[in-house]
Symmetry: C2
Subunit: 248 residues, 2 copies
């Protein structure tokens, strides 16, 4: 279960780091990547700080197969992601003529005025390709292995439909959950022994408070038969502790 070149997410925005906004994009992208068989190895959340974003992009670009960014591509002064991507790649940051033309046509229809702020949303790294925005306004873009998307969840989710046409996965990651009321400390040694016999399966143990069943054991892997075999051992172990496990 270890991909030599997994994917990463870069969430950009002061609003997440101030606690005023709860991120909703990480879990969405994580689930879609798992379904595509692309391993997600790391998420970083950064402020609207150019130096920090450029440095982080350049540190991450060679390490990850794909980097998905969310946030910071609107028309206001705090939207600096596109400029940061141009700087990270060392390419001119320029108006994308095709995007500008599409925006002008759309604005004409809707009676919206083009101005310098809105034109920033058409300003992109030279050489990028576009990520369609089926929800609202200007597109995102792709620059090599970096996919730049909006931060508003509805728009990001719309853009991700197009991103899925551009990324290659492997076998989807499958999972199965076994629930019980065992205390983690009572079954940890036996669980570890099962984990050791199934190196291709990740077994995670997640206790819940004020919930019944109080423990979720999550098995993740590529082959359903192997997951089922490991889950059968987990279930047998729970039965040996005198409890009937529940499917999660």
């Amino acid at each position: 279960m270890t991909d030599p070149k997994p994917a990463a997410i870069l969430v950009i925005g002061n609003e997440i780091l101030s606690g005023s906004t709860q991120d909703a994009n990480i879990a969405f992208i994580a689930k879609r990547l798992a379904a595509r068989g692309i391993e997600l190895a790391e998420v970083r959340i950064l402020r609207d700080n150019e130096a920090q974003i450029v440095e982080t992009l350049n540190e991450m670009r060679p390490k990850f197969r794909y980097i998905f960014t969310t946030g910071g591509i609107g028309p206001t002064h705090d939207d600096i992601t596109a400029e940061c991507v141009s700087k990270a790649f060392g390419v001119p940051h320029e108006v994308h003529k095709e995007v500008e033309a599409a925006m002008l046509a759309d604005y004409k229809k809707r009676g919206i005025e083009m101005n310098a702020a809105r034109l920033r949303m058409a300003t992109m790294p030279r050489g990028c390709s576009l990520i369609a925005n089926p929800i609202s306004g200007p597109p995102g873009f792709r620059m090599e292995n970096v996919f730049v998307m909006a931060g508003v969840p509805k728009i990001m989710q719309g853009m991700f439909e197009d991103v899925e046409n551009m990324i290659e996965g492997g076998a989807p990651t499958l999972s199965r959950t076994v629930k019980c009321n065992q205390k983690e400390g009572d079954i940890a040694a036996e669980l570890e022994a099962i984990q050791k016999r199934y190196a291709d399966i990740d077994i995670g143990s997640y206790p819940h408070f004020f919930q019944t069943p109080s423990l979720s054991l999550v098995l993740r892997g590529k082959e359903q038969a192997r997951i089922d075999a490991a889950a059968a051992e987990v279930e047998a172990m729970i039965r040996a502790h005198g409890e009937e496990p529940v499917a999660g």
Copy 2:
């Protein structure tokens, strides 16, 4: 608003990166830090992967004033945070006698058996100090600027009460929100001009979909009078666009 040595959060756990669990700890810690006047500059979310955690800890330790970790300190095989901290600091990973004694006393009362798995929760980097756990079971610990807490939100929040006794902040970060229905692109230039006049205030612009008012302008800073002055300019600008702004 730029702290030369801000804080960071390190969230550890496959369950967040698989999308199966929505993180609830980042927003909690972020809000508490803001109230304490400690700037949060970065969050990283990592898998249960020893090499990646050790490397990340050692990369982050010199860069940040405080690093708050959540997750990975339970008794099961996938809980590897404590070992990783010992490795990152290059110190022996050993049973903390005081923690072991407290656990034994507690387990005796509750009729729980001590075993190798549970003893792992008392095994910590040599030289660490303890973070009280008022909710359930073994404590977290602090090693220099690294604060190691549980991942279960209730327990993490309980531990954070004690962490707050150990960290030093500055003036709390204050914020004020002005809401309106302006389109971002219509007010971006004027908003940027206000931002330039108030370098000590961070002005963020956050559009909402399917909500009224549809735009939140969030002003954050250390001095209420400066925030109020900037907010008054933002409100005057919105009125000049023919709309009465709303307090957020």
